[in-house]
Symmetry: C2
Subunit: 197 residues, 2 copies
């Protein structure tokens, strides 16, 4: 397995975390998330020219972090068998890409990594949208220990990736008790690795 | 089946199109995409308060258009059996929610429906990002008749929904021959319905 990767990308971290928990080895090839001039190496592998992009053992490419999670986790303990629970896992992963990653990850990128961030009012508007995504996550967790079926799934991996580093974008999680307890539960899972590992 | 719906939302149209092709009846309950004050009716059904939100026959809720597509299509001709092809379907659907819908659907909404659209330079910047998403779609289609496995799947439904109305947001598809031929192939599928049906 070959992963076109960035050590700071939450989307790439999702894939590394799942593979660690599945006990799968992966070779990492780093691309920058700031200087995107090297992205054409992905040309024939991923039409969106984004990372993570995975190359399977047989040479076939696969892209989009949450699609990669599904490919490797389906059939394992990290994806439920029940059709409704499977769809709920996907519901949370699509919410992540639609509402959560474009706000929380974007603000973190602008604040912590971007060479030329947008004006402060653009960042603040996006941060407000990020808080709305955190409100949704808090409501969705409710009193459940995990997002779907009461147990740890790739939905938790997908949402954990950028939530646990939201502070780097200036988000405060103090008003989100359910999120705080859930983050600790995710870290306590067997074979957990950190984004910096 | 009960669908919280909007007749102009491409995300809702995806669900109606698939259900029509599967021969499933659905009751539609319309919510506005402009005045969002009625969204709290979704409170216990969808923590993101978005449409489409589906209520299954047993009362259980399901949200996120592409998760709903997966739930109803898995096991039918519209989702492949092969694990790699299944992941490629998800790859395209996550691309749709990550890069395509936030640009092409957002610009269409601002131009055609919004009461208070953002400044023209914001719309133009987003339109440029939308053209990058169309570039990706054109590259991804290449010489294939459909996005995955050479046949019509829910990946095509997911990408068709906002691509075919991109003109309402001021996008020109003239420079995208592969997209143009693919749109015609999607319309030619059995039991196709229009967004206005």
């Amino acid at each position: 397995l070959l992963l076109y990767d960035s050590p700071v990308s939450g989307n790439c971290y999702k894939v590394r975390l799942l593979l660690a928990q599945l006990g799968r080895e992966v070779e990492r090839r780093e691309l920058s998330v700031v200087d995107r001039s090297d992205r054409m190496v992905l040309g024939r592998l991923n039409p969106a020219l984004r990372i993570p992009t995975m190359v399977l053992d047989d040479g076939r490419p696969l892209a989009e972090s949450n699609a990669i999670l599904w490919y490797f986790a389906d059939g394992s303990e990290y994806v439920p068998q029940d059709p409704y629970e499977r769809a709920k896992v996907l519901q949370w992963m699509f919410f992540e890409q639609c509402d959560h990653e474009p706000t929380i990850a974007a603000v973190r990128f602008w604040v912590a990594f971007a060479a030329t961030p947008p004006p402060a009012e653009v960042i603040e508007a996006r941060r407000a949208a990020g808080y709305r995504a955190l409100d949704t996550l808090e409501r969705g967790l409710g009193r459940s220990p995990f997002l779907v079926a009461g147990r740890y799934t790739i939905a938790d991996i997908a949402l954990y990736a950028y939530t646990h580093v939201a502070g780097e974008g200036g988000f405060s999680l103090e008003r989100y008790p359910a999120i705080g307890e859930w983050l600790a539960r995710v870290v306590a899972q067997p074979r957990h690795i950190a984004i910096s590992d």
